[in-house]
């Protein structure tokens, strides 16, 4: 008799990931010491605003940083018993699209407009699964049907621009699932879609995840999406993790002033309306000025203490599976 699966064996583990970009204005540290682990079949939300480093984290994991400007300077990404950051490009190619798949925000730029959907999907099967062309196409058609594309056997011959936005995203998902990956990295997969279509896509992802036991890293800035889809949440700010928790507890009792402020500044569908939204004054900090000498959120924090200026706080445990990077204890937060 097997015990219930626990988090003991994560499918993907990121430790101390640090990524820098060399730009005109200097070296920008886009990701600084980010760590998290992803359990089998778990949906992890990576939440933050633009510039917080959530997308760069994913690109770093998959070895897709633009060269030569971007490079990983520290850290480890454990997957399948080895460190992906040390893997060769050939090894990474065998992993991408196969064991770890990615779905992006804008499918129009990820699907080749000059090739039919059939060609692009079949290529994945032929390459990674060594299928014959006929089997690859058959598999692609069945997946397209599964993701909700009507008349898949006919539609597969079409070109990407002949599909609507929602349909194209479904095609991307089908492409990602072709090899039954262990991990799906979805970077703002529904941001560009209408609300009703977004709901359909998120439902689809939830079903597929249940069916296949696939783990998902969902990158988004939409807290509503996080609340509806994710098991755990990692909140990022200025390239570092500022809070990590299971979804319910995070929303019920956020333990970092940034998370609190973020939740307070989102307009709601119910409850009090009108009046002022709690906004976070100021702008995110620059990341090209070297290491932070104080808490990165300090200039915008309404709950600062003297200790905040002493140095960057470390990520501290706040109970099972909860972390926050703040000098304040949970009880001290407003």
């Amino acid at each position: 008799m097997h015990p219930a699966p626990s988090r003991a064996e994560p499918v993907l583990e990121v430790k101390g990931l640090t990524t820098e970009f060399v730009t005109d204005g200097g070296v920008v540290r886009a990701v600084d010491g980010v760590s998290f682990s992803l359990g089998r079949g778990e949906v992890l939300g990576l939440v933050g605003e633009s510039g917080c480093g959530k997308s760069v984290t994913n690109l770093s994991i998959l070895g897709l940083l633009p060269r030569p400007q971007g490079r990983v300077v520290a850290g480890e990404v454990r997957f399948g018993g080895r460190d992906l950051l040390q893997a060769s490009e050939a090894e990474m190619r065998a992993v991408r699209g196969n064991r770890i798949a990615m779905v992006f925000q804008d499918p129009m730029t990820c699907l080749n407009p000059y090739l039919t959907v059939e060609e692009q999907l079949a290529e994945v099967g032929q390459l990674h699964l060594r299928l014959s062309r006929a089997s690859a196409v058959e598999r692609a058609v069945s997946l397209l049907t599964r993701v909700g594309i009507p008349d898949a056997a006919l539609r597969i011959r079409a070109y990407p621009h002949q599909f609507s936005g929602g349909m194209r995203q479904r095609v991307m998902i089908a492409m990602a699932l072709l090899c039954d990956p262990d991990v799906l990295v979805a970077d703002e997969p529904t941001t560009a879609l209408d609300v009703t279509i977004q709901a359909q896509i998120l439902d689809l992802l939830a079903d597929l995840r249940r069916e296949r036991g696939m783990a998902v890293i969902l990158v988004t800035h939409d807290l509503g999406v996080v609340a509806g889809c994710c098991d755990r949440v990692v909140v990022m700010y200025a390239g570092r993790v500022v809070e990590e928790a299971a979804t319910g507890p995070l929303f019920a009792q956020p333990m970092h002033p940034y998370t609190q402020a973020l939740l307070a500044s989102v307009p709601r569908l119910s409850g009090a309306a009108h009046g002022r939204l709690a906004s976070i004054g100021g702008l995110p900090p620059r990341l090209d000025r070297g290491p932070f000498r104080a808490c990165a959120f300090l200039p915008r924090c309404s709950q600062r203490r003297a200790a905040c200026e002493a140095g960057e706080p470390a990520l501290q445990g706040r109970g099972t599976g909860r972390w926050s990077r703040c000098v304040l204890q949970p009880g001290e937060l407003a």
């Binding site: 605003e49 609507s164 209408d194 359909q200 509806g228 500044s265 307009p267 569908l269 906004s279």
Partner: protein
């Protein structure tokens, strides 16, 4: 007691856009009133025609039919000569903070341009007025000689608002003004818009696809689908008691930042129909879970379903 005439009054507006594949009926019979000093939210997904309505009201599109009355004057399809003096009364704030400012003009030049065009201040006084406007939107006036690319999205949007306010308009059309901004910056700009409305006595036509944002700023809300209005109500009524099946589905599809809250999702089948060949009768019937025979035969009119609440559905009235 007669009600004062609304600042903006639109009746049966139709805008058809000729394309290669046919004519897109972007706006197909839209009517609404906007009383002075209030905010009307126009909500819909892509293809609903909400942006087209806004652009037609300001004269960027020509309607094929319908009436637009601004402060009592008919302006639908009017010549530029007629519209020119009215430009002072209506201004627009655009969605994309990166495309709505001329990259080659300093902030000061951009904000001052409306002042020069309408001769609102003597040349020497323009700078002082620019500083005043920038302070009004919460920007540091000493930054006015910078160029747009030196600012991030939130401040750029504020510059756009300052420029719109330069002519002291009465009506401000806001076309997805916060959609391209981060959550925290979005909150800043929404607060700013509320402040300005109160201070300057403005009237807003607020267009957005984000239902929570619309709820926050609007007094009344109109829901659009494929070029038609399907429901209009006061803000509280619409969100608490949506009547039209589309509004209900829309509200149930919005992700809420409250995990564990029980929600009944009203799933919509398929995708919106083509605006070139809209379905007969009710345009929503192809996706409506409650569609019946009459929906294909007759176009439903907007019928009252409560105080100040109308819905275009055969199940009502």
């Amino acid at each position: 007691m007669s009600a004062a005439e609304p600042l903006l009054s639109v009746r049966d507006l139709r805008v058809h856009v000729p394309l290669e594949g046919g004519t897109v009926r972007a706006v197909d019979g839209v009517s609404f009133d906007l009383p002075g000093g209030s905010t009307l939210g126009l909500v819909g997904e892509s293809g609903s025609g909400k942006s087209t309505v806004a652009r037609t009201v300001v004269g960027l599109n020509r309607p094929v039919a319908g009436s637009i009355r601004l402060a009592g004057q008919e302006i639908a399809g009017a010549a530029e000569r007629v519209l020119a003096p009215l430009r002072r009364h209506v201004q627009m704030v655009f969605q994309d903070p990166y495309a709505s400012l001329n990259p080659r003009m300093t902030v000061a030049s951009a904000v001052a341009e409306p002042l020069h065009i309408h001769g609102l201040v003597p040349a020497a006084g323009a700078d002082a007025e620019v500083c005043r406007l920038l302070e009004l939107v919460g920007l540091d006036p000493s930054m006015r000689r910078r160029y747009p690319h030196e600012f991030s999205g939130g401040p750029r949007q504020r510059i756009g608002i300052a420029r719109a306010l330069a002519v002291q308009p009465r009506l401000l059309l806001l076309d997805e003004p916060v959609s391209a901004l981060d959550v925290s910056v979005q909150a800043q700009v929404l607060n700013l818009l509320e402040d300005l409305k109160a201070r300057l006595g403005l009237t807003y036509l607020f267009i957005a696809h984000n239902l929570a944002v619309v709820r926050h700023v609007s007094d009344r809300v109109a829901v659009l689908y494929l070029g038609r209005i399907v429901e209009v109500a006061s803000r509280d009524d619409l969100y608490a008691q949506p009547q039209h099946p589309y509004t209900q589905a829309l509200l149930s599809a919005v992700p809420v930042a409250e995990p564990g809250r029980p929600r009944t999702r009203l799933a919509l089948k398929g995708e919106p129909a083509s605006p070139i060949t809209p379905p007969s009768g009710c345009v929503f019937r192809t996706r409506c879970p409650q569609a019946v025979a009459v929906c294909a035969e007759q176009v439903p009119a907007l019928r009252p379903v409560g105080a100040g609440h109308v819905s275009a559905c055969h199940w009502h009235g």
